[in-house]
Amino acid sequence: MRRWLRVVLIFLGVIVVVLGAAIFLAARHLSTLAEWALERAMPGVTASVQSASVTLPSQLNFQNLVLKSRTSGETLLTLNGGSANFDFSGLRHRQIREIRLVEPVISLSPRFGEAFLPPSSRAPEAPGATVGRPWSVGQLVCDYGILRVLQFGANDLALQAKFACDFQNFSPTGAPEAEHELVLWDLSASKGASPNFLTLDLVRATFKFASLLEKQTISKISLEGGTLIVGQSLRELFAPAPTTSPGPSKASPPWMVQTLDIAQVNVRIDDERPEITDITFALNTTLQKIPLSQTASALGAEDQIVEITNLDILSPHDPLTKVLTLEHIYFHFTLAGIIKRQIADLTLKGPTIHVGPDLFWYMENIQKRLGISSAPTDASDPTGRGWTIERLFVAEGKVVIGSGGRRKYGIPLEFYTKAQDVALDNLAALKLEAALEIPPEHYVFDSYQVEFTSEKGGTLKFSYPPEKGEKNLVGDITLTKIRWRQYQASDAFVSVTFSKEGINGLFGGSLYRGKAGGGFSFFFDAASPWIGWLYGNAIDLRRLTDIVSPQNFRMTGPITFTLQMDAQGKTFERILGKIKIPQPGKLTITKLDAFLDDLPPRWTMLKRDSTRIALETLRDFEYDSGTGNFWFVRSQGIFRLQLQGPQGLRSFDVVLHSDDSPQGQWKKRSANP
């Protein structure tokens, strides 16, 4: 009996010693034990833990944990530190009560999910791998962590974000399906060492663990605030994968997002052209079933409509000068299309073209850049392609003439156009193949006392023929009627060419049984100087003089004239012209009738009769031909008219004075010969 008792004591002692040794060894090699436990919990990984310690009674702390894929050896997760709370009964059922990650910095591999896959759904196991039922976690908590995803896939995608989570019943398998929410903020994404193409203020990802692991599906992602730069990085990221390798593809099935909510994410088009880089718009949309794969086509074909308001494209030389104002822009596109620089519909409502030197500098800059970019490029490289618009519609367009200063002159012309398959490069260079159409309308320029009616409308065309070296904008309009002050012409046309130096115009039409026409050149300068010239041929003098001075005099017969003018803004500085009356007519100074009727009765008969004879001689004069010339500087100048008729010569010099100052030698001289 004693002997048995001694044996038992010795045995117990040995057991205690062994247990003590085991506990001692376990305590000394806790990290090894942790590694073993993690590998049991996550059969798809190999784990390494730099240090681990136990805080009694039931907390395991660890530092520098690394999980690697058992199949590929790829690092799936690195964790700076954390703790796990457990109880022994739970451990028996492969349950951990709580895992709390304290300020972890997680470097995550996209194949991280493999760590949790049950044996049936993961990649073929390595021979001799130890597998078992996955563990479940009652609660996984992280109040503040940093998540890093580096070298993701072939595109070397890098993500960084801060995150927090509180997952309840976090169980890869077995536990009831529960929705979890991962909150990330201050997220940025880049391709390799390139600048960030995406920054997001706040991201909420809702998922079910089973769907995440087995179907690569995320229930919902909400993006709030941030900037998406549609540029080189994004295009490369979603470019079709090269098909050089004939072997079986190792690509994972595409990740799916059931619902993607995007709110107030600013989209900026990075096109290496400042005026396009400045195009920023807020994206507010909800997309359903978006595949997040490596190909652009998988991004989804759901139609999106984005409106941009009050977009100004500024001068390359003067940030205060606009060259193009776009009041409303409606984009109709698909995400797949926008990655490929394709826009299905683009509607520009109320665009304003600010015609001035800056517009043409802008056009020149664009042209230079297009010249550079037109160098041979690899056709398979989508980054070398320009933007295209399948359907373009422009409505209610306006033209504003800007001089060298800040003064602007609005032209009440509206233009519109429709076009298909427009290359945005051409649009940016204002090289639309389809001319902007000016609709038929009645136009009024109150400040210039001009109005005209067009029943056929016209066109406004940007012309950039490189072979001619011309860079201009040409507007043509056919006018049914045109009126300047009290003068009215019909069957008229106006053709205006806008260039860097200024605006040149030609016009013509029928005027009082004859033909009239002319032109003008408007120079871009602070004082808005311009010159004009006008000619008339076989104009009916009777109708003309009835308008010019209906109560004073009348002339008949046809008149031919030429006229030049030099003006600043609305002020005529100088006018110079010649007239010719090639056919017989009659001059009647009707104003003299009033004098004849009011001859003073106290005058003697002889004086009255002689005056009457003289005035009547002057009043009525039939002529065979006549010539004249005139010049005026502001409100002064000379008009000279010579009429030759059977009854002699009538020579009139009308000298217009702006004051009664005797200064000015010109006042003492006659008009020019």
């Binding site: 001689t617 002057l618 409100s635 010569l649 004051d659």
Partner: protein, 175 residues
């Protein structure tokens, strides 16, 4: 006595004979209509004009202190000179007297010379002010001013234009 009586009878007999004849016709009409050449000059004064330049228009061009008003007052004379091809627009934004001025009377030549000197002084002051305002060099302002004057000149007015060789020459502007 008898002789006196005979003379009286002869006179009265002749008178009686003449009185029995018809009166002779005197044709006062001309084969061509009477031509009357009339030349008249009508001076029109516009006292109601209240434009910018009118404020200083009453003051002689040489006495007012505002160069803009002086130039406005001088404009008609300058145009008269240009119409007669006496002056042209030079490459430096200033007026230059042309050869045709030498054919004018000495008084007229002096008048043109003084007006051009005064106009150029006012133009130069304006160009210096523009250079100061735009922070660019005076030659640049002169160059662009000259270009503007060239553009604004009327047909047949004298202008100085650059040649392909980089030189300058005087031409009469073409239409």
């Amino acid at each position: 006595m008898e002789k006196t009586l005979r003379q009286s009878l002869t006179f009265f007999a002749t008178l009686a004979l003449l009185s029995g004849c018809a009166a002779p016709t005197v044709n006062l009409a001309t084969s061509d209509p009477i031509k009357v050449d009339i030349a008249m000059r009508l001076d029109v004064y516009q006292y109601g004009q209240k434009t910018d330049q009118a404020a200083g228009a009453a003051a002689p061009a040489s006495t007012t202190t505002d160069p803009k008003i002086r130039r406005d007052n001088r404009m008609a004379d300058i145009q008269d000179f240009k119409n007669n091809r006496l002056i042209g627009e030079g490459k430096d934004g200033l007026l230059v007297i042309q050869e045709a001025a030498t054919e004018e009377t000495p008084d007229r030549r002096d008048y043109v010379r003084i007006a051009v000197v005064e106009e150029n002084a006012d133009r130069m002051a304006q160009m210096k002010a523009d250079a100061e305002k735009d922070k660019v060099s005076l030659p640049e302002v002169q160059s662009r001013t000259a270009e503007l004057w060239r553009n604004r000149s009327f047909k047949n007015e004298w202008i100085e234009v650059p040649t392909a060789k980089g030189e300058w020459k005087w031409i009469q502007k073409e239409g």
